[in-house]
Amino acid sequence: MTKPSFDPTSAPVLEVKDLVIGLTGDDKSSPVLNGISISIRAGETVCLVGESGSGKSVTSLAAMGLLPRQALEPRSGEILFEGEDLLKADAGRMRALRTKSMAMIFQEPMTALNPVLTVGQQICEVLQEHTKLAASDQKKTVLEMMREVHLPDVERIFGSYPHQLSGGQRQRIMIAMALILKPKLLIADEPTTALDVTTQKQILKLIDEMQEKQGTAVLFITHDMGVVAEIADTVYVMNRGNVVENGPIDAILTEPLRDYTRKLLSSVPSLVPRAPRPHGSSEVVLSITELEKVYGKKGWFGKFEAGTKAATDVSFTLKKGRTLGIVGESGSGKSTVARCVMRLIDPTSGSIRIGGQEIADFSRRAIQPHRQHIQMVFQDPYRSLNPRITVGDSIIEGPMNYGVPKAEAMKRARELLSIVGLPDDAIKRYPHQFSGGQRQRIAIARAVAMNPKVLVADEAVSALDVSVQAQVLDLLADMQEKFGIAILFITHDLRVAAQICDDVIVMQKGRVVEYATGHAVLTNPTHTYTRQLIDAAPGRHWDFANFRPLETNAA
């Protein structure tokens, strides 16, 4: 936790007063931002935290003068930047202020950078636009800045294109670009959400370090309470366009006044693993032996040219009614394993047994009868349901493929929908009429409708807000108990894994580095990589649900 590095009596750099923002040309609709007030002082880190649709991004865009005017417009209130009302400033003035006095970094650095210019050129452009530095000095300044954000081999990276850099490096470039003119205010909109935890930790540290060096005021937007606990001085909790509660970080975390804040905090899964469950059935429903997937291309004459090894020597077993987590960062091969198990892609070698039946070398046609035993819940509930087909028809498609009569399948679909907590009329409606969490419930109902032995959940709760996430996890546990389904749970989030997995596999670069019970992996990791992962989990010293710091160190 950061010590208060700012002077609470100084005049605020940015002050938002009673800001109301609504849909353009539609005064009757309820506002998107409903009179919010925020103030940030030099050196202070203010976190705007809230779930999707709470208006946190709109706030930051308004401050930067980047509101999409054809859709959103300010109705009243003011945004004061060092006393100057930004809502009254014209486009030219805003352009001068941006990057020079205030800068912004975004969630996805790949789309924020221009793919056809080298990153060096792009940072130089900022200098050309706002300073009168000579070309040779520009490069020197840029290189120095790149060194300051701890980029390695700066000469080479200066001439690289964005796609040649890693996500973390790109975000460092964005930070260098944002801070090169030493702005007074930095707005960071979910800057680490697309990054792996270990990279996230480095970026958070970097922002903190730069802030200390330049005395920047930072407005940090995030949905992640862990990140908030790591970096915030002051927290504003937002919900549906209102600031629900604000105050110093310690006060918010230990004594939240509002129910909404309490709910938000208590939904954060704890890093402390849940108590191990008693061993149940000993029936093995899924066993993987020495699974390997090599991405390559068929050369001339069918010769196989080996390419990337996405998964090597992966072995595990899953028993009836148990949950096995596969944890790892992006590129670790965890999704590859899931897709091989589902036979959505063909494994290069190894064995996949579902309840004793070997399916790894079956052809597409031969696998058909066995597909019903293993079902999947996908990450993105907005894309995993066909938007043109009603919920009911989506659910009965699978059972009908295996000869269940339509009326019977529909009856079962209705039962399942009520089990997952959706209204009766849901069956005739289309996916777009549901929220993300509801859609994920439908996806779960669809998977369970097949009476599978194994349910593969590939980042099934990653796209959901934290309170919805908790409900969907509960639902999965419920379904497991009711139907005895074994779950293969793929996730990057150690907190989620800690709460639902009996056993955990940690993967790195396509290899299994650790495979033990969830309790053992999280409390007593043997591999250095696992330790790094746990160490990088944001807010790991904090027990959010109980509003107090963790007494014992998790590692």
Binding site: A71, M342, D380, R383, S384, E397, G398, A443
Partner: protein
């Protein structure tokens, strides 16, 4: 194109401007629909609306200007121009519609399969590339000279070069749609391949196909007229807009109506189909829809 600039000017008049700032006016598409509907009605009702047998020659009434007996005048053989233009609409619409249905049908089937199977894709697309290299006029002239002129040979000659365009369109849609998780979910649910193609992939192609279909239709009608005009189309005594114009060409200076009326019918028909296609594209474009919804 005089029509379009006239319509454009009319559009700018305040009375035709719709009130909503973002809403597109439906005035032009409405007009286009009206023109097309009239063309269809004229074509269907030609036997009742015609004042003369379109083939009947009256040597005594050659190249007459418009009068009570011959509403639009008569041609060099004393045939009634009005009746011939009416009957000409039948051939044009039949070929336009026929070429569209056949090329979209065949193209959809090939495109779906080729978009889904990578191995097949490489072969099929090279064949399509080869087909696209054939100029439809040359193909038509070749086919007609080999088999003789008939509506069917003309339709064949127009349809073949259109198929690859439809295939490419369908394939590109399938290539992106098959990566959607809901398609993978269908695979995981054990759905058969035809079912996946038909239920989950085909509906994605409908919107672009409707738009493409209107352009195919317009271009087919135009190609038919050109072929008739060149004498490589439907036999010369059959009344088609192209044939009428081809015969009228020789008398252009003394009887300009022989070119003017079929030409007007042809351009109005094609213009209205194209305008409807543009409207369909705008209405079916998901980005436009999103903009509407965001308001």
């Amino acid at each position: 194109m005089a029509q379009s600039s006239l319509l454009g000017a009319a559009m700018r008049l305040p009375m035709f401007r719709s009130k909503g700032r973002h809403k597109k006016s439906l005035f032009i598409p409405g007009l286009a629909l009206l023109v097309l509907a009239l063309t269809v009605i004229f074509a269907i009702a030609a036997p009742w609306l015609a004042t003369h047998d379109p083939m009947a020659m009256t040597p005594s009434a050659r190249l007459k200007p418009a009068n009570d007996a011959y509403l639009l005048g008569s041609d060099a053989y004393g045939r009634d121009l009005y009746s011939r233009v009416l009957y000409g609409a039948r051939i044009s619409l039949f070929i336009g519609l026929g070429a569209t249905v056949i090329s979209v049908g065949i193209g959809l089937a090939i495109g779906l399969v080729s978009g889904f199977f990578r191995v097949l894709d490489a072969i099929v697309m090279r064949i399509m590339d080869a087909l696209m290299a054939i100029p439809s006029l040359l193909l038509a002239i070749a086919v007609v000279s080999l088999t003789g002129a008939s509506v069917w040979t003309v339709m064949f000659a127009i349809t073949v070069p259109e198929i690859p365009r439809v295939v490419r369109l369908v394939r590109s849609v399938v290539l992106t749609a098959r990566e959607e998780p809901y398609v993978e979910a269908a695979i995981a649910a054990g759905s058969s391949l035809p079912k996946i193609l038909w239920r989950h992939l085909m509906p994605n192609t409908l919107a672009p196909l409707i738009v493409q279909g209107t352009y195919v239709c317009a271009s087919a009608i135009l190609t038919e007229a050109i072929l008739s005009f060149l004498g490589a189309g439907v036999s010369t005594e059959t009344p088609t807009w192209g044939n009428i114009m081809a015969e009228g060409r020789a008398y252009f200076q003394i009887a300009p109506q022989l070119i003017f009326w079929p030409g007007l019918a042809l351009s109005l028909c094609i213009l209205s189909i194209n305008l409807l296609g543009d409207t369909a594209r705008d209405l079916l474009d998901p980005r436009m829809k999103k903009r509407e919804a965001a308001k």
